[in-house]
């Protein structure tokens, strides 16, 4: 645009831009940013937080008695307590849980989701990665140097999704503990096993919670809470053990 705009108009516009953020920052506690669909407001107003939960131990799981448990369940319960609201758990499949956020039937979804799972589904938004899970190859302390997995047999315990990853690095996944003692495990599970990481990383999984898209006040409040929490691997071990 090359038209000349009167000088006073320019000054006013510039002034507005400079002043507006500060004016808005002044009231950012509860009113900025805001939610287009008022999720935070309605959770606080109704005193109830609807959470879609997908079975994925040890992150989140509904037990036989209909009680929710898992590391993410602990986080959500603490978040609800901080907000002074109660949690309504809605068990759903992974896709249905994310869809429930888009349709407004849930305020939050948990189930050990990774950032990629949430963004590629497209119906919901991820929080920041509150926990960076590292899937490693571990070995007994006396194992010695392990440079790569080429030709090595790696025990993949039940429940650990690592067969493909082991193969990609040239190793052979086996279903029984191998003589070499190599095991594929998330790093947080090593504590108490006597195993140590070999330095071989199979995968990084950035774990997130899922929220409705564009509900920025809600997301900010949740992230403020998550950043104040203690180490997540402690929660995971409690829930796994």
């Amino acid at each position: 645009v090359t038209r000349d705009i009167p000088q006073t108009g320019r000054r006013k516009a510039l002034l507005l831009v400079l002043v507006l953020p500060f004016a808005l920052a002044g009231c950012r506690e509860t009113r900025f940013p805001r939610d287009p669909d008022a999720t935070l407001e309605s959770v606080l107003a109704t005193g109830s937080l609807t959470v879609a939960i997908t079975d994925h131990a040890p992150w989140a799981e509904m037990d036989d008695g209909g009680r929710a448990e898992g590391a993410e369940v602990d986080l959500v319960e603490a978040f609800a307590a901080a907000l002074g609201v109660r949690v309504v758990w809605t068990p759903l499949g992974a896709f249905a849980a994310l869809d429930a956020l888009e349709s407004g039937e849930a305020d939050l979804a948990v189930g050990g989701f990774t950032r990629d799972e949430v963004t590629s589904h497209g119906a919901a938004a991820p929080t920041y990665a509150y926990f960076d899970e590292r899937l490693v190859v571990a070995a007994p302390p006396d194992h010695g140097l392990q440079e790569d997995l080429e030709g090595a047999r790696v025990y993949v315990p039940p429940g650990v999704v690592a067969t493909r990853l082991v193969r990609e690095q040239g190793g052979t996944p086996v279903a029984e503990p191998s003589a070499a003692g190599l095991v594929a495990l998330p790093r947080w599970r090593l504590a108490g096993t006597g195993l140590v990481p070999t330095g071989i990383l199979l995968e990084r999984r950035p774990h997130v919670l899922a929220v409705p898209k564009g509900e920025n006040a809600w997301l900010l409040r949740l992230e403020q809470f998550l950043r104040l929490q203690g180490p997540v691997d402690v929660l995971l071990r409690e829930n796994a053990g």
């Binding site: 090359t2 953020p21 929080t127 920041y128 920025n216 997301l219 992230e223 950043r227």
Partner: protein, 313 residues
């Protein structure tokens, strides 16, 4: 560089050298801007659009640097008239690129709007405090809007002195860049207010601006290359040099009638001057003298062919 551009007077050569240094400095500044904006893109369509406009801002200065370099090449057997038109070509290239991307951005933002996409902006941790990422985006946008305004002003004078349309268009786009920043900031503040559509709407405003610049400059470039009578650099009037040439020719004692046809080749004016000599004759010496005097009138006057004729319709 001083031995280059033999067609330019010493003063213009110095201005050109300074303008080239200014553009190199600007490219460095622009790189810092695009990096800053890239790392604060978030999910904002307006921010993405502003970033692509920043990327586009690389085209005119690079076109200027390349063109003013090629322009200094010595004429050879294949290009006996030199490379003075390169400036016009680079101007056209820059303008068409601008228009094309403008169109793309409008479609892109329009689709975001139609899909009723709600932009999500999370938080970052700054010195142990959780801060809405929108503030970071706004800070980057303020930086990206402030620098071009300064550089745009600095480029206007050399653009006028050199009659360089690429540099001129570039300076105007830079000067207007604060409006892009403002629109993007408005989009992000809109998201913060809970107006999910504000972001895509701001993006459309920015892309309209890009398209407008592109179309306007493409038109001007095409008219230049179609041998339009020369216009002033801001395209507001015919170049006063036309009248100067005309009155100079008409004042010559041996000229009965004349017709001046000029066009722009880059920063230079070329063309033909038809003259009906008084008493039906003109000597080669008179023609050469007239040619020399015309060139002395202004550095931009080059290759004016003075052609004697028996009559002019």
């Amino acid at each position: 560089m001083t031995d280059r551009h033999p067609r330019l007077p010493e003063a213009q050569r110095r201005i050109l050298a300074r303008a080239r240094r200014l553009q190199v400095l600007w490219l460095v500044a622009l790189t810092t801007i695009t990096v800053a904006v890239y790392f604060s893109l978030g999910n904002s369509q307006a921010m993405k659009t502003a970033w692509i406009e920043d990327l586009l801002s690389f085209v005119p200065p690079v076109a200027f640097l390349v063109a003013s370099w090629i322009e200094g090449w010595a004429p050879n057997d294949r290009f006996p008239l030199g490379f003075i038109r390169v400036t016009s070509i680079s101007y056209l290239v820059a303008a068409v690129a601008l228009a094309g991307v403008g169109l793309f951005l409008i479609v892109d933002a329009g689709m975001t709007l139609i899909a009723t996409e709600h932009p999500t902006i999370g938080s970052v941790e700054v010195f142990g405090m959780t801060v809405w990422f929108g503030w970071v985006m706004i800070a980057a946008l303020v930086y990206s809007a402030a620098l071009p305004v300064v550089f745009g002003r600095l480029k206007l004078t050399p653009a006028r002195e050199l009659h360089d349309k690429t540099l001129w268009a570039d300076a105007l786009m830079n000067k207007a860049d604060w409006m892009t920043g403002l629109a993007a900031i408005a989009g992000i503040l809109g998201i913060g207010m809970g107006w999910w559509w504000a972001d895509a709407a701001a993006a459309i405003v920015i892309s309209l601006d890009v398209l407008h610049d592109g179309v306007k400059n493409t038109g001007a470039a095409i008219r230049d290359l179609s041998d339009e009578m020369p216009r002033t650099i801001d395209d507001s009037a015919f170049d006063p040099l036309i009248d100067e040439v005309r009155s100079h020719i008409d004042r010559l004692p041996w000229v009965a009638k004349s017709r001046v046809r000029l066009r722009e080749e880059g920063r230079f004016l070329t063309g033909t001057v038809h003259v009906v000599p008084r008493g039906g004759g003109v000597t080669p010496a008179e023609l050469e003298m007239a040619d020399r005097d015309l060139r002395a009138l202004h550095w931009r006057l080059r290759i004016l062919l003075i052609i004697p004729r028996s009559r002019i319709e």
